[in-house]
Each structure stands twice: as structure tokens, then as C-alpha cells.
Symmetry: C2
Subunit: 249 residues, 2 copies
């Protein structure tokens, strides 16, 4: 049964201020469940339909004490999905510790003020596909633990280390790492010399990269246009850029 | 003023059956307005806020007789956006005539049962960026004239020719055109020999390409995975594939 207090708590986590207060986020669906239980992220509650619980006996063995069976009507009261799933998790927002060696030796995404939660989540999933372990995002970007972001990551949130940070300070701290800026007036990415490590900087959907960050860019890169669309979606552009960095390897 | 009959008509076009009945679709926002008025698509109504009309005097000169000024409260009653825009258009669904020469000499996207309207719209925008003039989509795909699709195309709907068709018949009719199937067990696309013409076949978000279409595929291609995500979003995969086809040119 869904108690009033759990219902209130679960719903409060749809708002950023409460996610920050409790250091918790919500994740829904089979895929998120599978990825989270096999990650290092602490799971506080698993709220699920009885049939689903019966069908997942083995996977749930370790989580008996945090399991709350509820019915479909109750699930609708906490779900943020149009079609609620059979399982709803409350998990701890991980406080990753930046691993300097890992940052220096890998590709890292740097997200400057991307606003759409769907784009943000898709970018996390892209990073996970292309083996990019760290994402740094500006504090004015979409919250990486927003339910829509979590949903769009399709479980990749459990693997990719996301750091919300001041990007100016980031670039100052890692001043020897090459910063690739994806922008309209950059060099043709198909012909650019790319490395298997560095910062890939992605700007806002409409305005691109902030003026204050332009001085940190070492190489400006852009995706050639063959047709007439004015721009590409931010996540789509990120995907093409990541793919180009990987194809050279 | 928004008459009851126009309000009812505009709202009815949110449903596919009425779009088919009237052969009309709705489009909202500045970008869609600009792209549609400079296209060959017939515009039946432009419904807009008075301030916006005043600010667009020149562009509206040709459209005086189809212009309906309404207030913000009325706009909310017809808009399908959370934040309604200042302009709302009703336009004719174009009945493009397939241009065989154009199909043979270009890249064409073939969409098999892509379900998400956001993905469908983003794919249209990707086609427009990469200069891919034709999209063929199966009749069970998301309706290309769904308001969410139109919104996601960011105006590209005015340029890309979209044909809803039976894909089996399409491949039979154009049997000499190479069909590239994007699928998990395909050859590494970074190493594949790609041409600047052909059909690029994209499958459903979860199930991939339908079994019935597999016999038509000449070359199976896939995007190498470097990390652990199980899959890429359908629009993201389309973008990377289109980019690979273009980089060879």
C-alpha cells in the first residue's frame, strides 16, 4: 500500500529543490530498474505492482527491505509518465568524485546551458554509447536528475558520471586539456584532426556556446550542412560529433 | 476574434482522422510561419496575436485575406503547445508527386514504423540538414503531420517531401536502388562503402526493422558501440548514419 507520506515524498522529488534537499531522484520502468540495481547507486525504495514483484523475485532478493507493493491506481498518483510503468524507484543522487587521470585520458562532454530535459537525457545516452565516461554541465543546464532526463537516458544515468559545475572554473582547472567547441563557424569536422581525449563543448539549443566560454576553445568544429535546415537538434549534433571523434580511433 | 467554428476546426486537426478528412495540418510559431510562407504549400489560415501581426506587416501582405487576429486567451484554446506561440497556421497537407529521377539520383530515407512523433520530426529536420529530399514512411509510422512532428521539424516540413506508403511495394517498384539497412548486426558503418544515392532504411525504436523488409536489404550497416548503452535513440542513429553517407562525398 502507498502511504500518504511516501506518496508525498515521491511526488516532491519531481521538483529540483526537493531533489537537492533529499539528495534523491526518481526513475521509472524496467530498464532503469535493471541498470540501477547493477550500479553503485544507492537505492532507497522500489515501489512496484505485485505481479511485477512476483516476476522479478531473483533480482529483488537484495531489496526486500526497501520494497513497497502498490496497485495501479496508486502508481498513477506518483508516476510522471503518461503510461505508468510497473516499477518506480527512489535512488540517491550520486556524488561522483572527479577522477583526474580518467578526465585527462578520455573524451569528456561539457554541456553549456542545454535546456531541454529530453536533449539532456539523450546526450547522457549518447555518451554511454560512445564510451564517454564524464559529463560536465553548467549549473544553468537542465537538471540531470529531472524525471524526463532520467527517462530519456534509458538507464545510462547509472553509468555516466555527471558533474554540475562552473565551466569557467573547470577549464581553468584543466587548462592543458584541448577544448573542442561545436559551433556554426567551426572547421569542417570531417576534415578536422581529432584526438581520443579532450573536452567536447556543446552549447545551448538556440544561442550556442556562451560568449564567456569562447576564449577557452582551442579548436572550433562544425558539422557541414548539405541542405537547408537552419540547425540541428542539440542532442543530434552531439551524437554526430561524438561519432566523428570515435571513428578516428 | 476566434469564431466557434474556427476553434472547432483548428482543434479537430489535432486528430489524424480530421487531418485526413480536411487534408490540412496545423503548425505553430515564427519558424514554421517563415518556412511555410516561402514554400509551395497552400496556407489556408494564419491565426495570430495583433502585436505579432503589426510586426509582420510585409510578410503578411500576400495573406491579408486568410488572416485572423485573436487574443492570447483564444490562442490558448487552439494551441497544442504548453507555451502558445503568437502565430498558428492551418495549411494543406501537400500531395507530393514522386519524382523518379530525383529518387534514383539521391539519398532517400525509408522509415519503418517509427512511433515517437518527436523522433519523426527530428528525422525530417536531419534529412533537411543533410540534403536528403525524400522520406518514405510506412503507414504504421507516426503521422508526419501530427502537431508534435511538425513542431520537431523546425520548419523542415515545408521542404522535405514525405510519402506515406507501403514499403514492400516501394522496394519492388525501385528494385535497382541499393537498400542500406541500419541494424545491430550490420557492418561497421565507418568502414562500409557508401554511395551518394540509395535508400537508408531505419527501423522501429524498440524492434528495429520489420522481418518482412529484411529480404530487400542489400547492405546491413551499424554504428559501432564503444560504451555500454544498449541502443541509440532512433533519430540519433539516423543522424549518425546520414552524416556517414555525406562525409564520403
Amino acid at each position: 500500500m502507498l502511504s500518504k507520506s511516501i506518496e508525498k515524498y515521491a511526488n516532491s522529488l519531481k521538483q529540483k529543490k526537493h531533489r537537492l534537499e533529499y539528495k534523491r531522484f526518481i526513475a521509472e520502468g524496467e530498464k532503469a530498474f535493471k541498470e540501477l540495481i547493477s550500479s553503485d547507486i544507492f537505492i532507497e525504495k522500489i515501489i512496484a505492482l505485485p505481479e511485477w514483484i512476483d516476476a522479478h523475485d531473483t533480482e529483488l532478493r537484495k531489496f526486500r527491505n526497501v520494497l513497497i507493493p502498490i496497485n495501479e491506481r496508486e502508481m498513477k498518483r506518483i508516476s510522471s509518465l503518461v503510461k505508468p510503468s510497473a516499477v518506480f524507484l527512489i535512488a540517491q543522487i550520486p556524488e561522483w568524485i572527479p577522477d583526474e587521470k580518467n578526465i585527462y585520458s578520455n573524451l569528456n562532454l561539457v554541456i553549456d546551458n542545454v535546456q531541454d530535459p529530453g536533449n539532456m537525457g539523450t546526450i547522457v545516452r549518447i555518451a554511454d554509447w560512445f564510451g564517454i565516461p564524464n559529463i560536465f554541465c553548467s549549473e544553468d543546464s537542465a537538471d540531470p536528475y529531472h524525471p524526463k532526463v532520467i527517462q530519456s537516458t534509458m538507464g545510462s544515468i547509472a553509468r555516466i558520471k555527471i558533474f554540475e559545475t562552473n565551466l569557467t572554473e573547470l577549464f581553468h582547472s584543466f587548462s592543458s586539456i584541448t577544448v573542442y567547441g561545436t559551433m556554426k563557424d567551426g572547421d569542417n569536422i570531417y576534415k578536422a584532426k581529432l584526438k581520443d581525449h579532450g573536452f567536447i563543448l556543446i552549447g545551448n539549443e538556440a544561442r550556442g556556446i556562451s560568449d564567456s566560454l569562447l576564449p577557452f576553445i582551442h579548436k572550433r568544429i562544425s558539422i557541414p550542412r548539405f541542405g537547408k535546415a537552419e540547425s540541428l537538434n542539440a542532442a543530434v549534433a552531439t551524437a554526430i560529433v561524438c561519432s566523428e571523434f570515435r571513428r578516428i580511433a
